[in-house]
């Protein structure tokens, strides 16, 4: 178990159609990311009425942060998913006092966070495979109940622990 399991887990991710982030074709991803950013700008435009030209600098920052995150996921010797790297880079460049942070915060502020998730969910609906529909169908109502309990339990467990800890430390 232990280290070996974790290593194998990364390997078996292939079965699940999860892409190995060390082997991704960066140029290909950079172009797809551009498509995603254009969709994000339009989504933001419809949601907030901020026109794409005004929001463009902010989106350019998000694009750059994402690319840096992808690069880190590809080349840093220990494994962290690219989304974790992207988050860390985004935090780092917006900490007050870091050069340029005020500008980045101001520009990125023109983008609505929820509008940026809309394209991903649209792709999500289109990406469901026959297999996934099949599994959901054959697993039956018991799995649906269990799945809801799992989500509720995971969320509530965190809420209770967080709430108690917050009260203890104040």
């Amino acid at each position: 178990m232990t280290i070996e399991t974790i290593k194998n887990t990364a390997v078996s991710a292939d079965i699940l159609n999860v892409e190995d982030e060390r082997r991704i074709d960066l140029a290909h991803h950079a172009l797809l990311l551009l498509v995603a950013c254009v969709l994000g700008l339009i989504s933001n435009w419809v949601a907030t009425k901020v026109d794409p030209m005004t929001a463009l600098p902010g989106m350019a920052f998000l694009y750059a942060i994402s690319i840096v995150g992808l690069l880190l996921a590809k080349f840093v010797p220990f494994y962290l998913p690219s989304v974790a790297w992207i988050s860390l880079v985004a935090i780092l460049v917006t900490i007050p006092g870091v050069p340029g942070s005020a500008l980045i915060v101001e520009q990125v502020g023109k983008l609505n966070f929820l509008a940026l998730a809309t394209p991903a969910l649209a792709y999500g609906g289109l990406a469901l495979t026959q297999n996934e529909f099949q599994i959901a169908r054959t697993s039956g109502w018991k799995i649906v109940i269990v799945a809801i309990c799992v989500m509720f339990g995971t969320y509530m467990g965190s809420v209770v622990v967080a709430d108690v800890t917050l009260k203890l430390f104040e």
Partner: protein, 277 residues
């Protein structure tokens, strides 16, 4: 050649479909249905997901003609890629709030342990109420997103009972997770028992879409706390990326295995006792 290059990007059709869905979803906007002290909040991401399912080539035969053969596969890649600007935006909300986030540090770290709450709630339901077999282990040990699923695949194989349980919750969570995580937090917030910061930092327990749904709904329930909600949810989400797999390997899965053994063991002995009497 041009055809194959375009094919590699899933064809223009796929992205135009998404464009159309996004414009319609964002035009409808947020809908709030008050029920008592709380409210059910419907978000554009929910409509976008629902429209995506309706237009999915596996559901609607007509769209197969318009979308290229690998559209579903490219759409899968695009989920991971189009969530990146969102995650980046999310991260930029942490920096300015870094002081407040650090102040909640102990809660942020400890709430990761709270994720084991799934075992507390779902395991008894699966094993005692629904009488599930070893499927219950894979189904209930975690929220069963990709890294958790990969762990089950490695230890038991996806064709095992444990694998079937994990795949079932994974597929169901993929389809209804966004809805559950949009509906649940505002209702719990409405109870007025829990600190909104606790509700926010618990949003980072699952996938990117669960995170989006949870924070989106929470922000519309408590708009004045928007900046703090985003920052805490983003911070806890990063912690989950970093700790989730390890928590599964070393704590959650062994614990679920052990619980299964003792609960089924007890049952076997109680049956044999009945048989004796």
């Amino acid at each position: 050649m041009a055809q194959t290059t375009l094919e590699r990007y899933g064809g223009v059709g796929l992205h135009l479909f998404v464009l159309g869905i996004v414009v319609v979803a964002e035009s409808i906007g947020l809908i709030r249905i008050p029920i008592g002290i709380a409210a059910v909040i419907l978000l554009p991401i929910l409509y976008a997901f629902a429209m995506g399912i309706i237009l999915n080539p596996n559901i609607m035969k007509g769209t197969r003609r318009v979308l290229s053969g690998n559209a579903t596969k490219v759409a899968g890649t695009m989920i991971a890629i189009s969530i990146m600007p969102f995650i980046a935006k999310f991260g930029t909300t942490v920096g300015p709030q870094i002081q407040k986030v650090i102040e909640t540090g102990p809660a942020l770290v400890l709430q990761e342990i709270g994720n084991l709450g799934t075992i507390l709630v779902a395991f008894p339901v699966a094993v005692f109420l629904l009488k599930m077999g070893r499927e219950a282990i894979g189904a209930t040990y975690s929220i069963d997103r990709e890294p958790n699923l990969a762990l089950i695949a490695d230890k038991y194989g996806l064709n095992s009972p444990e694998g079937a349980g994990a795949m079932g919750v994974y597929a169901t969570g993929t389809i209804i997770g966004t809805f559950v995580f949009a509906i649940m937090p505002p209702l719990i917030h409405g109870l007025g028992i829990f600190d909104v910061r606790a509700l926010a930092m618990s949003c980072g327990v699952g996938s990117g879409s669960m995170l989006a749904a949870c924070t989106g709904a929470l922000v519309s329930a408590a708009p004045t706390d928007k900046d703090m909600i985003l920052a805490l949810a983003a911070a806890s989400n990063i912690l989950t990326y970093a700790t989730g797999l390890y928590a599964g390997v070393f704590v959650a899965l062994p614990l679920t295995e052990w619980l299964y053994r003792i609960s089924r063991g007890e049952q076997t002995s109680s049956i044999s006792r009945e048989a004796q009497s």
